[in-house]
């Protein structure tokens, strides 16, 4: 259960931004990769807890889930992953471990009211 500490870092960052801009943050947009090792629902409820008694109280966490993309040595191109239980190219089936996308845990935008 490390989602709470992650949620707290997100809130801390958003609070700093809110203070710096003299604005109110109403929503935080987060990119979450399927391989980030973070459970979306646990993060959502942790976020609510982390927001309590901060400037972010009442704000929303909007999570965009990012699918895994791998480099396929056989297609010589970036391809979707067949499944997280099957590290192979969704197109041709060649096994691959080269993750190109899917480890993201990144705040990408804030909705602010000035």
């Amino acid at each position: 259960m490390h989602e709470l500490s992650i949620a707290m870092s997100i809130v801390e960052f958003a609070e700093e931004e809110a203070l710096r801009r003299g604005a109110k943050v109403s929503a935080v947009h987060l990119k979450l990769g399927a391989l980030a090792g973070v459970v979306k629902s646990a993060l959502q409820s942790s976020y609510e807890m982390a927001c309590e008694n901060t400037r972010l109280q009442g704000s929303q966490l909007i999570v965009e889930e990012v699918p895994v993309v791998v480099y396929c040595p056989s297609c010589r191109a970036d391809r979707p992953l067949r499944s997280i239980q099957f590290f192979s190219c969704a197109e041709c089936g060649a096994p691959t471990s080269q993750v190109v996308q899917g480890k993201e845990l990144e705040v990408v935008a804030l909705e602010i009211q000035e």
């Binding site: 259960m1 490390h2 500490s5 992650i6 870092s9 997100i10 960052f13 931004e17 801009r21 109110k24 109403s26 929503a27 947009h29 987060l30 391989l35 980030a36 090792g37 973070v38 997280i84 239980q85 099957f86 590290f87 192979s88 096994p95 691959t96 471990s97 993750v99 845990l105 990144e106 705040v107 990408v108 935008a109 804030l110 909705e111 602010i112 009211q113 000035e114």
Partner: protein
């Protein structure tokens, strides 16, 4: 405050702080010439027993040390101390994983250039440690035969984040009807090309093979860092 909300783009990697500390540690380890291996597994898969064995054996020819993460007790550190190698406990409290900063502060006062191998035993947990880089050169994931062959499919993220898998307690394989072919296929499914070792800390079978591999990795790491 009455204006319409507007969207501002920002860019903040939530784990950036950890990644930065991990990167600094990795550079420090490389410059000191110490090969750092971390261990992850579920609770009870034999990390501590394996580490005690590895430390005892390696100590005959190398300078070894270990950091061990545990939620509440120092039992693991006490067990590992029997190997006579320097061991330091990191008590994480309720935290389910180690972070790079904990490794960094645990290493205060240690002269890393006096070491050949440093092991970092993570908290027994197959979920949370996957997100946190500790600056290690190699991440080992342990899987005991008593846990079943499908562990890699249930926890693909941690298996995918590891470099080498070790199947432990193989002396019990027959008793629990462990299906090696299935386990191996599952490991390869979530991490194609992963190197896998099988060993028993109790009987000693397979331990030597793994330690030879580790020595090879140390030699290779030192050669490439000089070049």
């Amino acid at each position: 405050m009455n204006s319409e909300p507007r969207l501002v783009e920002v860019r903040k990697n939530v784990l950036k702080q950890n990644d930065l500390v991990a990167r600094a540690l990795r550079t420090r380890f490389r410059e000191a010439g110490v090969f750092v291996a971390s261990l992850v597994s579920s609770p009870g898969s034999g990390k501590t027993a394996f580490l005690e064995k590895a430390l005892t054996q390696l100590r005959k020819a190398f300078r070894v040390a270990a950091l061990v993460g545990d939620l509440a007790t120092d039992n693991d550190a006490a067990r590992l101390a029997r190997s006579q190698a320097p061991v330091k406990q990191i008590t994480t409290g309720t935290l389910c994983h180690l972070e790079a900063a904990m490794v960094q502060s645990a290493l205060e006062g240690w002269n890393l250039s006096e070491l050949d191998f440093l092991f970092i035993e993570n908290v027994g947990n197959l979920v949370c440690p996957s997100s946190y880089d500790l600056g290690e050169a190699m991440r080992l994931v342990l899987l005991s035969v008593t846990e079943g062959e499908d562990k890699p499919l249930k926890y693909p993220t941690i298996f995918n984040s590891a470099d080498v898998a070790i199947v432990t307690k193989i002396d019990l394989a027959d008793a629990v009807e462990f299906d090696w072919a299935t386990a191996s296929a599952n490991i390869q499914a979530v991490r194609p090309g992963m190197k896998v070792f099988k060993l028993s800390t109790k009987s000693g079978e397979g331990v030597e093979d793994f330690l030879k591999y580790l020595e090879g990795r140390l030699t290779e790491a030192r050669r490439t860092s000089v070049a």
